[in-house]
Symmetry: C2
Subunit: 324 residues, 2 copies
DNA sequence: AAAAACCGTTGAAACGTTTCAATTATGATG
DNA sequence: CATCATAATTGAAACGTTTCAACGGTTTTT
């Protein structure tokens, strides 16, 4: 592999000059530039990015740390993250934590050692502690404080919106279905929005939740359907699209049909092709916008800018499907 | 940030010794190791992976180059790739090419400059040329020759299997639906298997394909349904699950119902949750196995081993759903 | 007691780049 | 033509690690 030294020798110039040519520094005479470029071509020289990162003590690698790329929401999110990063000359490193705190910490350590330029994280952990580092971080859906900027959808508005739409569809009693986690997350506002709007509308409502550590499809729904106060529920707002889909499936087994007997609204809006049926009515998070905003904010932090907010909520919208 | 030098000074040893401690080289006296570890802890020293990569002239970064992480098949594949790589201490860099040749080449150049340890690629391009490099490569579904090892599912057997299952389900005339690309790919064997098995079974069959550059849902299916020789088709084998899902949807609009009027089998087996309906009958590629095999082979190439085959075909299986 | 063998340790060199103080070349001015 | 100002170029130093020839100390062998 030819190095910058080889190019310099062949072109009959100093290494500094070659470096300036490569980095498009304008203070180099056109004819010198010519010579250097000729030498570069002749030797088939390509700059060693690793050496450059080393010398500069920084890289253009951004890590995306999420529970699982396999999940449709995250894979769409990752798609836009990569696209946005690439447009700015950054590269994406993908880390699946499985939502496990130990793995999250393990990855944070690794990212530290690897001096990534920044991190976009979707974590279930109290990451502030693992982050003694000064690597810029964007957190999705979880607000930690000044140091870590949070990007999220307007979960509260989404919760209210869901109830409004259910009421508009003519339901008389609504239920909130949720999977909770042991850490605080903006996602909790979906429930708050639901409750507030149900009370504002003066409609009967129940909430029903289970912790993700013990969550099990069968137990969860069997419990739900067996409770007396759930019998007359005819409107469902589920925490996530996946939970909504599971509900619809389970309800069908109990001969409760959607949307005939019960209207269902999910949250996320991840369906984008014919493989996904039924087409859910849902509160759609603007995934692309959230991804691009995350990248934009992260890069601004990397550039050393201080952001004016430490939480950014992007508006959601209702997308009508076949389940209301 | 403390460096190895700082640790050495504090521990009162040479830098070489610290290096040996970090790298678990056994030729260091226990009490020295003790001292060094104490110094490491005291200074909160973490090794600089970038410097190490630089010095070693190699990294532990593996790139996954694919059309789009958004696609369910690729996102499942990526999930297992990341898992397998992480288990071996490697990291994953994700590159979405959009299937565009120019972007594929652009990424290959970039990966070269970044001296990644290896590449796992799902490409639509004649990549041999862009790969003057000696970076080990695994290619999914496309066989290029000795230099690039190919991992694929047994497409031919899959094609035959699909016909066998359709026949078993009682169909009398089968159609192959496919999207083709301009480059050779193992995927073409799905069609060959289909044709061979249809002839072996002595069943009527047609094949119907469109190039991906001009593919359009409406045109494709309107054309398909309008042809006289397609009227009595009652068994469909679609190139991919997504195409199968689209067919089912379009057929429904024409009042051709699945599986009552027509049995449909797809290829891939990407459905894994309740969001995906109907549950397709499909030829399932063992995604996890393919991913782990890809990583295993790649790492063996990275270690300098020469592999005994240049194409590895892993067996597929039939998974019965609701569409046959 | 000298020589040999072994063990543990040392620290300079090297990896390929960028940077910047120093140097040289070029051009303008009086 | 000498002087000065400016433009262009040079190359050593530095980034943090690994490696390895050399070294000193201890034990074993002769």
């Amino acid at each position: 592999m030819p190095s910058i030294k080889d190019v310099a020798d062949l072109a009959g110039v100093g290494v500094g000059t070659v470096s300036r040519v490569i980095n498009k520094n304008p203070t180099v005479k056109p004819e010198t530039r010519e010579k250097v470029n000729a030498a570069i071509k002749k030797l088939n020289y390509i700059p060693n990015e690793v050496a450059r990162n080393f010398k500069m003590q920084k890289s253009t690698m951004v890590a995306l740390l999420l529970p699982s790329i396999w999940h449709p929401f995250f894979s769409e999110f990752a798609y836009y993250i990569e696209d946005a990063l690439d447009k700015e000359g950054y590269k994406l490193m993908l880390c699946n934590s499985g939502g496990r705190p130990d793995k999250e910490i393990y990855y944070f350590d690794m990212l530290n050692q690897n001096k990534v330029a920044g991190i976009i994280g979707i974590t279930y952990n109290e990451i502030e502690d693992s982050v003694s580092t000064d690597i810029p971080i964007i957190s999705l859906d979880r607000h930690f404080g000044k140091k870590i900027t949070c990007v999220t959808s307007d979960n509260y508005a989404g919760g209210r919106m869901a109830v409004k739409e259910l009421v508009k569809a003519g339901v008389t009693k609504v239920a909130y279905l949720g999977i909770t986690s042991s850490v605080y997350s903006e996602v909790l506002l979906r429930k708050k929005g639901f409750v507030d709007e149900a009370e504002a509308q003066g409609i009967e409502y129940v909430t029903y939740e289970e912790h993700d550590a013990v969550f099990d499809d069968d137990t969860f729904f069997d419990d739900f359907f067996s409770k007396k106060e759930h019998q007359d529920v005819d409107g469902i707002f589920a925490n996530t699209d996946l939970l909504a889909a599971k509900y619809i499936d389970k309800a069908k087994q109990k001969e409760i049909y959607t949307p005939k007997d019960v209207k269902v609204i999910g949250y996320d809006g991840i369906q984008d092709n014919k493989l996904f049926r039924p087409f859910l009515s849902t509160i759609r998070q603007p995934v692309e916008e959230m991804a691009r905003l995350s990248v934009e904010l992260l890069l601004r932090k990397i550039e050393g800018e201080t952001l004016d907010q430490d939480i950014y909520r992007v508006p959601v919208m209702y997308r009508e499907g076949e389940t209301t």
